[in-house]
């Protein structure tokens, strides 16, 4: 079974050397498999993330609804104005993967299709920095997945159940863990990074225009990535969030259950219910019998 608390995962990390190795160990046991097979499968998964990132930055085709597309490439080719370096590249990569998802390309749900941009953005831009290899990125992905498993066990990863905090919030927490793991931080620092990320997005509502995984989902992948990297930077500098990650996750679950249905993927509240959101929605071809494309 997946770890059901970060405290338990931390203990396992002490035994196995890192969060990633603790996660690999548990997956090998659960699947009755061996380390190489499990590692190779995650490596293949990461390959899909890499492909989606490359494709998303190169293609400018719009989604089937026409609501999104082309913004990743536009950001990538624009002159940097305020931020530069890895953070900027990561934000472009997050938009890129989210746009690929919106135009029916191949992505990895991480933890969902709507939040599929954050982990690739963090990891693809992290390889090479501080000597991190691709294998390190795959191990970091295991660490992120283990923390995602804790969130799934204690709260939820579903926007319909817990709002966007459960999707982008969880992806940001997982991304923060991956970034710390990849940078060689400690398991404790990864926990603080995840807590920083999740508390920063606590209460975020799921309010997709027209019910589609496009507006604001695509740009929220950029938001989640920025939160993930800033959270990891804080934790790696030794900053600590005073409330333990398990309790922050529990709070996220509680907040999710208190959100009204209008703010949980029903497209009845938030941005979906704005005059412009409604206008965009009414211009979409809805339901059955629409032309293809």
């Amino acid at each position: 079974m997946a770890y059901t608390s970060f405290a338990e995962l931390l203990k396992a990390a002490e035994t196995h050397g890192s969060l990633g190795d603790a996660a690999i160990h548990r997956e090998v046991e659960d699947a009755n498999s061996d380390r190489d097979t499990v590692f190779e499968r995650m490596s293949q998964t990461f390959c899909v993330m890499e492909e989606a990132t490359t494709r998303g930055l190169a293609e400018t085709e719009l989604s089937r609804s026409g609501l999104t597309g082309g913004q990743a490439a536009a950001l990538d080719s624009a002159t940097p104005r305020i931020i530069d370096g890895r953070m900027r590249k990561a934000i472009a990569a997050a938009l890129a993967v989210a746009e690929v998802n919106a135009r029916m390309g191949r992505v990895v749900a991480a933890p969902t299709g709507g939040a599929s941009g954050v982990l690739p953005a963090v990891l693809v831009t992290g390889i090479g920095s501080a000597g991190a290899t691709r294998d390190d990125a795959v191990r970091a992905l295991f660490a992120a997945a283990a923390v995602g498993g804790v969130i799934a066990a204690r709260a939820t990863l579903s926007g319909a159940a817990g709002g966007c905090q459960a999707e982008i919030g969880s992806a940001a927490a997982m991304g923060a863990v991956a970034a710390v793991e990849l940078a060689g931080g400690t398991p404790q620092q990864a926990g603080h990074a995840a807590a920083f990320a999740l508390q920063g997005l606590l209460g975020l509502v799921c309010d997709p225009v027209g019910g589609l995984v496009e507006v604001p989902c695509v740009s929220r992948n950029a938001t989640g990535t920025a939160v993930a990297l800033s959270s990891a930077e804080m934790a790696l500098a030794g900053l600590r969030f005073p409330i333990p990650l398990d309790e922050v996750i529990d709070a996220m679950g509680q907040v999710g259950r208190s959100l009204p249905p209008s703010l949980r993927e029903t497209a009845l509240g938030g941005l979906a219910a704005t005059p412009t959101g409604r206008g965009l929605s009414s211009r979409l071809c809805r339901g059955v019998g629409c032309p293809n494309g």
Partner: protein, 223 residues
């Protein structure tokens, strides 16, 4: 029944976007319907209920279900070209919105005709994260998730048939992971649904079909 969560369900599945429930799950549902009828149908009338009806087009639910019927996997980019590929494969299809009553919001009913002219009704729901469940096959309520191979045994409701079928499987060391028996009414047509840990070989399925009281046997592979 809650499943054990693998890390590959947290970071994964690999899927064609945009939605694990409305796209990946829909493709899997189409694939499971195809597995149940044992072939790509010649025609399919697809009824979309609830959220499948209202946001399905924007999520590619329509393309994904047709792709599934063609045997295209949930992570295959060909999903986008499913309508054109259906034409080439001789599958005609149509979509309608429908109120299917008290069912999961992401539900579809597929009314199909196969190459032998048989008519099929398969109804199923997409539960999130790419997980699906088929809840109706023709007249029978069922629970088929596609995670394990399933033996569908149509039989006469009479004493001893269930025991004879399970004994036959046990004789070949086939472990039964889950089982469900339903009937139209007492003494009438009944359905046995047997999920097994490994596929059942054709000759074993044939010997099950030969058991007194058994009308037909169909193996549905995992999808």
């Amino acid at each position: 029944m809650t499943r054990q969560r693998s890390l590959f369900e947290i970071v994964g599945p690999v899927m064609i976007g945009p939605s694990s429930s409305h796209t990946a799950g829909a493709a899997r549902l189409g694939g499971l319907a195809r597995a149940i009828i044992g072939q790509t149908p010649c025609s399919a009338r697809i009824l979309l209920h609830g959220s499948f009806a209202t946001t399905g087009q924007g999520h590619g639910t329509d393309l994904a279900i047709v792709a599934g019927l063609l045997g295209i996997a949930p992570d295959d980019p060909q999903i986008r070209d499913a309508f054109a590929l259906a034409g080439a494969a001789g599958l005609t299809f149509s979509f309608d919105e429908a109120d299917l009553g008290e069912v999961h919001p992401n539900t579809a009913q597929l009314e199909m005709t196969d190459a032998q002219g048989r008519e099929w009704i398969v109804r199923g729901s997409s539960l999130g994260g790419g997980d699906v469940i088929v809840t109706l096959v023709n007249d029978f309520p069922v629970q088929i998730t596609g995670e394990l191979p399933v033996l569908l045994v149509v039989h006469h409701d009479q004493p001893g048939v269930v025991a004879a079928v399970t004994a036959r499987l046990a004789a070949d060391v086939i472990n039964i992971a889950g089982m469900q028996v339903s009937r139209e009414r007492r003494g009438a047509r009944a359905l046995m649904l047997i999920a097994t840990d490994q596929p059942v070989a054709e000759e074993i399925a044939a010997s099950v079909a030969a058991i007194n009281g058994v009308t037909s046997v169909r193996q549905v592979p995992a999808v």
